[in-house]
Symmetry: C2
Subunit: 237 residues, 2 copies
Amino acid sequence: MKNKYVEIYHKLVKDIQKGEYTAGGTLPSEHDLCARFETSRETIRKALNLLSQNGYIQKVRGKGSVVLDRDKFEFPVSGLTSFKELSERLGQSFQTHVHELTLVKEAGVCRQLNCPEGSHLWKVVRSREIGGERIILDKDFLRQDLVYDLTKEIAQTSLYHYIENELGLDISFAKKEIVIEPVTAEDEEFLDLNGHDQVVVIRSYVYLGDTTAFQFTESRHRPDKFQFVDFARRTKV
Amino acid sequence: MKNKYVEIYHKLVKDIQKGEYTAGGTLPSEHDLCARFETSRETIRKALNLLSQNGYIQKVRGKGSVVLDRDKFEFPVSGLTSFKELSERLGQSFQTHVHELTLVKEAGVCRQLNCPEGSHLWKVVRSREIGGERIILDKDFLRQDLVYDLTKEIAQTSLYHYIENELGLDISFAKKEIVIEPVTAEDEEFLDLNGHDQVVVIRSYVYLGDTTAFQFTESRHRPDKFQFVDFARRTKV
DNA sequence: GATTATAATTTGTATATACATGTTTTGCAA
DNA sequence: TTGCAAAACATGTATATACAAATTATAATC
């Protein structure tokens, strides 16, 4: 938190979440925010753009920044939120089981991550238990040259926290695909399928800020427990 | 297309799609683009931010704007693209069947659209046929006070085109939810389910630029033909 | 009181400057 | 030739100004 406009963004998000500004109402005008935060209008506008992009406000010319009702669409699987961040926000009891943590050589994954075919990759297989049921199976492949050390403990708590805060890698964006597929033997083994014969599969390619692909993830969800919530702005063609 | 930076954005998108700039390479520097488009750096930066948000480039400090490989993640169900826009981009043969086009009063939908309970709503039920199979069932509710006139022909071609281009309404953003649900009698009636007993349901609340909710859509997809592709940037917590 | 015209407010766009920070290139020195 | 330091280059942040466009508040007029 060193940039002024990012700080202002976080402050305003906090204020909205505290209910300081109610949905349907408006934020103070840009001019007022300038005075309050003792900064220029452009800096305020950068902060407001972040709020707009993340679905907190809608700017209406002549009126102001209208606060949106974000309650109805919490639980964003979107935006690269990790399982731990999710569970904590939901406040549900959750547990992670680590089934595999090995170094492998998978040519196919290497090709998709754009690294030499002989490269070592961490393979992490974890199941996620919520409310006593194992409903998510996560299979991760990470480039070992970027994440050199990995322990079962890290895999059990939070990969993302370790990668971002301990290793200082800059996770920046991801390409993501959601499809429905028949269950595999692996699903049967590690999940409480409850009779379901299909799972929701989320495949993600995760990139760093310097555009190097470093992770491939396959997240397999039991369909009755799956929900994806998104906020999308229309891009004019 | 009147704004300079939006025009520049579209021009650069077109250039990238034409292959003028290849994935992995960089765009001309901001300074160069200023000269080329005869404009200021801030204007160029606004255009580049649009490219970045939509997954065309990744800006790397000190290096430049690296062009990303968007081929791998076309077909964005995300971003409020309409069925017609989608089908055209895919180049597949498609067909729309209009099963219902009526004015109704649905208290539940009214409440969610934040309009008076007695309001008239257009109810549109359409099935989408691709490659000879009816695989998508779309149920739309639209506020009649905003879309006063609606014909079967419009419903068959493109609602969005009519709403945006004919009526001049400014479709701005949507809250979206994806879940898996058991098939209903309606699904059985209007879709070629091919033995599937579950469908992928996308529920969307669509809003105008002035934050008025005006449409509720439920899009029901046969699971084997469903795919959702997304580009997501990580929002630092 | 109701309508209309005007002014004030608010966001949108375009431009300019200064400095910070990270990357690449260049040139000098060992 | 190699290695290192300096310069050049690229993007990031912060600030300032001017004007456009949409909305809202105010004043004036009938």
